[in-house]
């Protein structure tokens, strides 16, 4: 498979960007049947992705052959465990265009964002930015709660004011007032790269450029973009960037905070304990340089091994191909749902700057009920507000049904989704 640029206008191309059948064979769970003995049609990768054998094997093999505490051992297994851990860090760094020292392993994207929000608010000492009462934090209405609630708390702690960019009816960021929303008092701009509801890919580079002109730092929530498109942190202009392994074919329990070297260097620790100290006396302690400074406790090496294997798997597919495959599925989904009576798609109606999350309303049928019917047909989607409650309010809906696509989904599954919606409409009597 040759690599191809992302965001091609590739709707319904006969070219297969991925060998989906071969890929599906790598995912044991896809062989299951679910309700009513129906085969599993998994359209909820936005919540969590399924895992290929290669990732499961990497974790298992680590425990079976290399398990020891990393960064501690003077014995062979300890060395091997350290190599696995640091090897995974290097793989992740290369995957996003960063240096290994700029990659901090956390529990997940949510913890990564909390790490930045806590340390930059000064609770553990001063850092690269001083935030005073009346300073400003700029976020958006489009944010997942993980990149929203920590900033509310940040503002409560520091007395800063929380401001936000609005969302247009089309589900894009309203950038008309960007220049006036970023002021001399703006210290941090936190923005999603790709919405988990509307699929919208935001112009992070443009926003980062405006932020940097005013001396503000930029944090990017990349939980829904790193798994689905090629990422280069320098091209994005990100000062910080967060993502989770479990959304990119990797295990739960490990995520990544990218931070530019000079920023991490200037930041005090977030959590304290073993592994992150340089020297400990009863009277006080000193701390290691980054990234270890931000990795307390025995490292989660097995999870890192899994994440490393996930990065290998995705690199093998080619992220350009991954993006193109998803664009093809998304275009198909938009096509069948756009003209589907009683269905309203939330978010952009085009695959331009729009990824594979398709959230929709079905007139007269609540998302819970849509999801229940789809579940009976073996189709797994998500229903509710998808941890983006303000976004739903901004789009004028109480809740939605959401399908998300990934490397193992097929065009036939998109058709099954449309059929399932039709069935739900008939069941609830809103369609003949």
């Amino acid at each position: 498979m040759t690599d191809s640029p992302a965001h091609l206008d590739v709707a319904h191309l006969d070219v297969a960007h991925l060998d989906v059948e071969a890929i599906r064979a790598d995912f044991p769970v896809l062989a299951r049947t679910v309700r009513n003995d129906k085969p599993l049609i998994y359209l909820d990768s936005g919540a969590t992705s399924q895992k290929p054998r290669q990732v499961l094997d990497a974790e298992r093999e680590f425990y079976e052959r290399h398990n020891a505490a990393a960064h501690r051992g003077t014995h062979l297994l300890g060395e091997e465990a350290t190599d696995v851990y640091e090897g995974a860090r290097a793989k992740v760094a290369a995957f996003i265009g960063a240096e290994p020292g700029e990659v901090v392993f956390t529990k997940n994207a949510t913890e990564a964002i909390n790490l930045v929000a806590y340390t930059l608010s000064g609770v553990n000492g001063s850092g690269p930015v001083q935030v005073r009462a009346g300073d400003e934090i700029l976020i958006t209405e489009m944010e997942h709660h993980a990149n929203l609630v920590p900033w509310q708390q940040f503002c409560q702690r520091t007395g800063a004011t929380l401001r936000w960019l609005n969302v247009t009816a089309e589900g894009r960021l309203d950038l008309d007032r960007l220049d006036s929303m970023i002021t001399e008092r703006t210290k941090i701009v936190a923005v999603t790269h790709q919405s988990n509801v509307t699929g919208t890919v935001t112009p992070v580079a443009e926003i980062a450029s405006a932020a940097h002109e005013r001396g503000a730092l930029v944090l990017v929530d990349a939980a829904q973009s790193v798994p689905h498109q090629p990422i280069d942190v320098a091209a994005l202009g990100a000062d910080f960037l967060a993502f989770s392994a479990h959304k990119m074919l990797g295990p739960y329990g490990i995520g990544v905070l990218f931070g530019r070297a000079e920023l991490l260097e200037a930041m005090p620790p977030f959590l304290f304990g073993g592994s992150m100290i340089e020297m400990v006396r009863m009277e006080g302690s000193t701390f290691l340089p980054p990234p270890q400074r931000f990795e307390p406790g025995v490292p989660a090496v097995a999870e890192a091994a899994g994440l490393g294997a996930a990065v290998d798997y995705l690199t093998g597919l080619g992220m350009g191909n991954v993006a193109a495959h998803e664009e093809s599925l998304t275009a198909h989904a938009l096509d069948v749902l756009r003209d589907h009576p009683g269905v309203r798609i939330l978010g952009p109606d085009t695959t331009k700057d729009r990824g594979g999350a398709v959230a929709f309303e079905v007139e007269g049928v609540h998302p819970h009920d849509v999801g229940q019917v789809l579940d009976e047909l073996g189709i797994a989607v998500r229903t509710g507000h998808h941890c983006a409650w303000p976004l739903h309010r901004a789009l004028g809906v109480q809740a939605s049904t959401r399908a998300t696509f990934y490397v193992y989904n097929t065009h036939a599954e998109v058709d099954e989704l449309a059929d399932g919606i039709r069935y739900a409409q008939r069941f609830f009597g809103v369609r003949s």
């Binding site: 309700r35 009513n36 609540h366 998302p367 819970h368 009920d369 229940q372 019917v373 009976e376 229903t383 509710g384 507000h385 409650w389 739903h392 109480q398 809740a399 069941f427 609830f428 009597g429």
Partner: protein
């Protein structure tokens, strides 16, 4: 398919034509409850009157947004408790909670429709754990509002 066992006709009727819906005055207590997982919400008002020294549910009025199960359950609930002594209504509420937590056993065991009347239609919900909170949303709001209304009365 098991869908029909959960979505009984009674439930769909109440969903399409909810009873007692709308916020009314006077009331003794008002609460606002939410299901954080899905965003379903309900605002509920309860008024309690004294009948021969005994507190009786006079009116239950509500405004809500939610799925067919949560809406229908609130509607059935309001039918069941209105006009009943508070103690009896609370007992019905407990019977319904027991049915919801029965993990499908309630369907086989034929719940007491003397106590639960139309609410027995929700027996199938107990087999779908994700929907139990939907069925309970209105009941929990009613219990909360009634408890507050009783405090006001004292």
């Amino acid at each position: 398919m098991q869908l029909e066992s959960m979505y009984q006709e009674i439930i769909l009727d109440h969903y399409r034509n909810p009873h007692h819906k709308g916020l009314r005055d006077p009331f003794d207590a008002e609460v606002h409850h939410v299901n954080p997982v899905c965003g379903d919400e309900i605002t509920m008002r309860v008024s309690v009157k004294d009948v021969d020294g005994e507190p009786v549910i006079d009116d239950v009025s509500y405004d809500s947004l939610g799925c067919s199960i949560s809406q229908a359950s609130a509607s059935v609930m309001s039918d069941l408790v209105t006009g009943k002594p508070v103690g009896q209504a609370m007992a019905i509420s407990q019977a319904f909670l027991d049915l919801m937590q029965s993990k499908g056993a309630g369907v086989a065991a034929e719940p007491d429709d003397d106590v639960l009347e139309d609410a027995v239609a929700f027996a199938g919900v107990s087999k779908y754990p994700a929907r139990i909170k939907c069925a309970l949303l209105g009941w929990m709001a009613w219990k909360d509002a009634t408890a507050q209304a009783m405090e006001v009365g004292q």
